[in-house]
């Protein structure tokens, strides 16, 4: 033991192990025997310290490599002789058959056989790991010193690689060249397929085998991509899953509803996610999700949306939940949700177009619904009924569009999680059908809707309800592109409301204006506000004139009160009030007023010119009204009563002029239509209308017409109806066609023409503004800047803009720049 150390000094003799060579073979024999015991689960008899010490000594004496090789060889032999046999015995014929044709055996048989194999493999792998880690603990010093210095894989890793080579890469049997690894993959895939088909499988068992594949690598590179799990199993898994889901989606699309398909797809996505968590590895999650999404959604979403039970069906049948499913699926594969968006847009435009068509049909239908308007009672002339029906159609249109909007808003909120993209899409679609070239009436209809509400609809409503109504109008207004056209209609309707005192609440009118101001800007409401201002000034004028008259001296009991509205001619769309005959200001016929009225008129003119010199007043007799106290003499009535009757008649100004004529007539005298016209100078159309309401309408038949008929002919004679008997003291003599109606086609053409005229000015103004600032500009830029400037008012036609530019060039506001590569313009100051 101790080599000659004949040193004189006393010192502890060295331990044998330090100085001596180790007998390698003897020591290895001890270690090998111990390893066998470890592999047969008898380790508890062995002293760890002893084995550690032996291995330590061998390494210390520089025999590390020899030891390493011996251990390696030992492990290889062990695996190839003991373990491989055990595994191969677990392979039953139906498992091998399974790899070739699944139909050969029942799933249950395959499942049991598969589990037997997996269990065997799991045990072999588990044992191998435990034993090898014990070996590695014993050989710790070798790992630390020898393996680190010589860059050999640790003995544990080397043993894992051995397991891969000796077990997984070995053939299933002597006659079958397929490896155990591919068999393992097939078995796991088969089990997963069973689970997809509804069987219950041992997830934990599969998971442990998956962990084995995760721990082993394809080759020496130990990266994640090189794990056997990734290179072998996962690849196959994704491949077979793709095929499976492709087939399944085809089958489902053929055999089931879109809603059921969506639910199923979502279930599958969930299942795969769970499978990755419970049975496989989570890292597969995104990959398999992509496969499922590709096959079940991405490649099928178009078909799915288009199915008979697809998006259209869901919208029509209020299947909000299913729509949400579609949306959810679509969202997974497409950030823009193209298919859903497309289907929704299509449906909005379709349904919108239907509403448009309905409105056109309703407005053009012959007057067959007399009960539709109780106010009219079907006793007006046929044209009036028609007009009323159109108004109804207009209001129905607005309400339908609002209902459609509500409906899609609900879908948007509940099914599409308030997705902004879809909101934009819906807005685009609403804009599209509301501004559709085949339906030019939206501006007018919206204005009429507001008109109707201002006059009737808001009666008895609370503030917040009114606000909701106004807000609805604003919502629709947002969609309208030709805001200028809307302004034109709104002014017209507002004008009538103001002058005829039809508005229920001035406050609400102003509220509406301020809402529009917020939505459309100051410019838009400027003229509307001026109208309100005129009304206020007129009230002051009326009061002022009244004081003035009172100040004139003695009170005349027969004095006529005057209430007057002075309107700025450019602000008010008076032509729309004047009827057909009042197109041109100068041609407006002067009505001959009775002397008492004429005196009053001159009095006010004098009063007004004192206040505002230089202003010219034009009297619009067609727009005013008058209250007349009428006394009907004692004549025998139909019911036999005999007494004098007094009535307060509210008639149009023209009506007053006509009635006053009969004051001077004897009881039995009469006048012909021509005589009346000659005396009053009232335009015949207005005259006919007023005579109709005074002599034809049964409740207000103050005059008697001969012969009695609905139409008024120039030769008809009129006389005072002494026997008139009304139920009320106050009687309003309505002038036919007084309310706001949808325009006739002719009127619309006129309105549009006027609108186009004013658009031309707007375009020219915009072009000049732009050119003045930019001096020189290409045609393209000028066009786009002009369009963007005008977008708040209307959407001009490109052709119109071009014509305006031409016209400006002719008038030398602009010139073309010669020899420029593109069309360029220069501003001429």
């Amino acid at each position: 033991m101790i080599a000659g150390r004949g040193r004189p000094r006393i010192r502890p003799p060295r331990r044998g192990l330090h100085g001596d060579e180790v007998d390698f073979d003897k020591t290895w024999a001890i270690i090998e025997a111990a390893f066998r015991e470890i592999h047969t689960q008898n380790a508890s008899k062995l002293s760890y310290e002893e084995l550690y010490r032996h291995a330590y000594r061998i390494v210390l004496k520089k025999k590390g490599e020899k030891l390493y090789n011996k251990v390696h060889e030992f492990e290889r032999n062990w695996l190839s002789s003991e373990v491989r046999d055990t595994i191969q015995h677990l392979i039953s014929p139906n498992l091998v058959a399974n790899a070739q044709s699944v139909s050969a055996t029942t799933p249950n048989e395959r499942r049991v056989a598969g589990e037997r194999f997996l269990k065997g493999l799991r045990k072999a792998w588990g044992d191998h790991q435990v034993c090898t880690s014990m070996l590695a603990d014993v050989l710790m010093y070798m790992d630390r010193v020898y393996c680190a210095d010589h860059r050999r894989p640790s003995i544990f890793n080397a043993a894992m690689v051995l397991f891969r080579d000796q077990i997984l890469n070995s053939t299933t049997s002597e006659t079958d060249a397929r490896t155990l690894l591919s068999l393992l993959n097939n078995i796991i895939l088969d089990q997963i397929q069973m689970e997809r088909d509804g069987d219950v499988i041992d997830k934990q068992l599969i998971k442990s085998c998956v962990w084995m594949l995760e721990a082993l690598h394809e080759d020496e590179v130990e990266s994640e991509e090189q794990r056997l799990y990734n290179t072998s199993f996962e690849k196959e898994y994704l491949h077979t899953s793709r095929a499976f889901y492709r087939g399944e989606s085809e089958l489902l699309l053929r055999d089931s509803h879109a809603g059921a398909y969506c639910k199923h797809a979502r279930q599958r996505i969930y299942e795969e996610d769970e499978r990755c968590k419970q049975t496989l590895l989570e890292s597969t999650g995104p990959k398999i999700q992509k496969v499922v999404e590709d096959e079940l959604i991405k490649n099928r979403i178009h078909e799915l949306v288009e199915m008979e039970s697809g998006v259209r069906f869901m919208i029509d049948n209020h299947r909000l939940e299913e729509l949400h499913l579609v949306y959810d699926l679509n969202r997974r594969v497409d950030d823009r949700k193209t298919e859903t968006t497309r289907a929704i847009q299509l449906r909005v435009v379709d349904m919108g177009s239907d509403i448009n068509k309905d409105a056109i049909a309703a407005s053009q239908a012959p007057a067959v619904a007399p009960a539709a308007d109780p106010a009219d009672k079907g006793k007006g002339v046929a044209q009036d009924k028609n007009l009323n029906q159109q108004t109804l159609a207009a209001i129905k249109w607005v309400e339908d569009v609002l209902a459609l909007k509500d409906r899609f808003d609900k879908i948007w909120r509940e099914s599409f999680e308030s997705d902004p993209l879809l909101q934009q899409a819906q807005t685009r679609s609403f804009t599209e059908f509301i501004n559709s070239p085949s339906f030019p009436r939206s501006s007018e209809y919206i204005s009429l809707f507001i008109d109707e509400n201002m006059k009737k609809g808001i009666k008895g409503k609370t503030e917040s309800e009114i606000d909701a109504v106004l807000e609805k109008a604003i919502i629709l207004l947002r969609y309208v592109q030709d805001k200028d056209l809307f302004e034109r209609y709104y002014k017209k309707h507002l004008c009538r409301r103001l002058l005829m005192n039809k508005s229920i609440s001035n406050e609400v009118e102003k509220q509406m204006i301020s809402k529009m101001k917020i939505e459309l800007g100051n410019n838009f409401t400027l003229k509307l506000e001026a109208m309100f201002k005129d009304m206020t000034i007129s009230e002051e004028l009326t009061a002022g004139f009244k004081r003035h008259v009172e100040g004139l001296g003695e009170r005349d009991p027969k004095r006529i009160d005057l209430s007057i509205n002075v309107l700025t001619s450019m602000t008010w769309p008076l032509e729309t009030m004047g009827g057909a005959a009042a197109d041109e200001e100068d041609q407006r016929p002067r009505c001959n007023y009775p002397p008492v009225v004429d005196k009053l008129k001159r009095g006010f003119e004098k009063f007004y010119s004192e206040k505002h010199s230089g202003r010219q007043l034009t009297w619009l007799a067609n727009m005013g009204s008058a209250d007349i106290k009428a006394v009907f003499p004692k004549v025998v009535q139909k019911d036999g009563s005999f007494k004098e009757r007094r009535h307060d008649l509210n008639v149009s100004t023209y009506g007053m002029v006509i009635l006053l004529l009969f004051n001077e007539l004897g009881a039995d005298q009469h006048m012909t239509f021509e005589e009346i016209q000659a005396q009053t100078n009232i335009p015949s159309i207005d005259l006919i209308r007023n005579l109709q309401s005074l002599a034809v309408a049964p409740k207000t038949r103050i005059l008697i017409k001969e012969p009695m008929s609905k139409d008024v002919k120039p030769t008809d004679r009129f006389s005072f109806n002494e026997g008139f008997n009304g139920k009320f003291v106050k009687i309003k003599v309505g002038v036919v066609s007084g309310g706001n109606k949808v325009e006739s086609d002719r009127e619309r053409r006129e309105t549009e023409k006027k609108n186009d005229d004013s658009r031309q000015f707007c375009i020219e103004a915009a072009v000049v503004r732009i050119m003045k600032q930019r001096k020189e500009l290409s045609h393209q830029q000028l066009m786009s800047e002009t369009l963007s400037q005008l977008v708040g008012q209307f959407k001009p036609e490109v052709n119109m803009v071009k014509k305006r530019i031409e016209s400006l060039i002719e008038r030398e506001y602009l010139e073309r720049i010669d020899n420029a590569t593109t069309d360029m313009y220069r501003y001429l100051a």
Binding site: R7, R11, P12, S44, E49, L51, M134, V138, Y141, R144
Partner: protein, 291 residues
């Protein structure tokens, strides 16, 4: 050192002294050390392996290290609980034992199986004794090993606050005094080399570094001692040839003190230690020490 640190260290020390909660026993020579798996397995790869696996040791709870140098084992165990070894208190203790061992190094191996009666006292916890010890806490006299155990015990359990502070004072003083004491006590170069080797063998990185530091600190002070050549031999024979820890220190010392080679005992050691001889040869030839 802040108080949480003191708390931990004194708790560890008391665990060692009285063997509370011990779940593993190290046997070496005639001694049995009741130790704790958590403390050892977390710091030594060897003990981790011993506790983790289904070998005999894990079942019986006994690790027999009789094949190892008893002194090194004692230092190692001491280190596990005190984060140091061969400091003031253990020095005195060790010196007496060393003489014992050096007289008959094999006797301990033979007497391994006989019950080590003396050590059985260690885990005994007698409150009366503890109180007495607490009273005698400030005794300047270095107490024998077993008494030291009681002293530490009471320091941590009976008088939690001030005695601990006292101990710190002790520790600090110790560092200051260590140089003088070393001079008085003589060199421990061989001991350090042994501890270094056992730390390497059992995979205790902290102890290995500590031993190397102590060895390097001491070697210049004890160049002339008889331990020097012996320590060189020990260092070269007990660790793997690529381990440069102590080898570098030694070669450096030879380089700085050429006259060392002239000493006959050194010459003898170099002759007997081929690894050392070869490296000195390379140094003399102006070559790098390791190829």
């Amino acid at each position: 050192m802040d108080s949480p640190m003191i708390e931990l260290k004194s708790a560890l020390a008391s665990l060692f002294e009285c063997g509370q909660y011990s779940d593993l026993t190290i046997v070496c020579g005639g001694k049995r050390y009741p130790v704790h798996r958590v403390l050892l397995a977390t710091r030594s790869t060897f003990f981790e392996g011993a506790c983790r696996n289904g070998f005999k040791e894990a079942e019986t709870g006994v690790v027999d290290l009789s094949e190892d140098d008893a002194e090194a084992v004692e230092h190692m165990v001491h280190y596990f609980y005190h984060l140091d070894y061969l400091n003031k208190k253990s020095l005195s203790r060790r010196s007496s034992q060393r003489s014992n061992r050096s007289v008959s190094p094999r006797s301990s191996r033979f007497s391994r199986r006989s019950p080590p009666k003396k050590l059985n006292l260690a885990p005994v916890e007698d409150p009366l004794l503890a109180l007495v010890a607490a009273a005698n806490n400030s005794m300047p006299l270095t107490p024998p090993a077993d008494e030291a155990a009681f002293q530490s015990l009471d320091a941590s359990t009976k008088m939690p606050d001030t005695p601990m502070a006292d101990q710190i004072e002790d520790d600090d003083l110790e560092i200051v005094q260590s140089e003088e004491e070393l001079d008085v006590e003589g060199p421990h170069l061989v001991a350090h080399a042994k501890v270094y080797a056992i730390a390497e063998k059992y995979g205790i990185a902290g102890l290995k570094a500590l031993a190397r530091k102590k060895f390097a600190d001491e070697i210049d002070l004890h160049l002339s001692s008889v331990e020097f050549p012996e320590a060189c031999q020990e260092a070269y024979e007990t660790t793997f040839h690529t381990d440069r820890g102590l080898r570098d220190v030694i070669i450096q010392t030879f380089r700085a003190n050429p006259s060392l080679s002239l000493r006959p005992d050194v010459e003898m050691a170099v002759r007997e230690t081929p690894g050392l001889a070869f490296e000195l040869f390379r140094v003399a030839s102006g070559l790098p020490v390791s190829s």
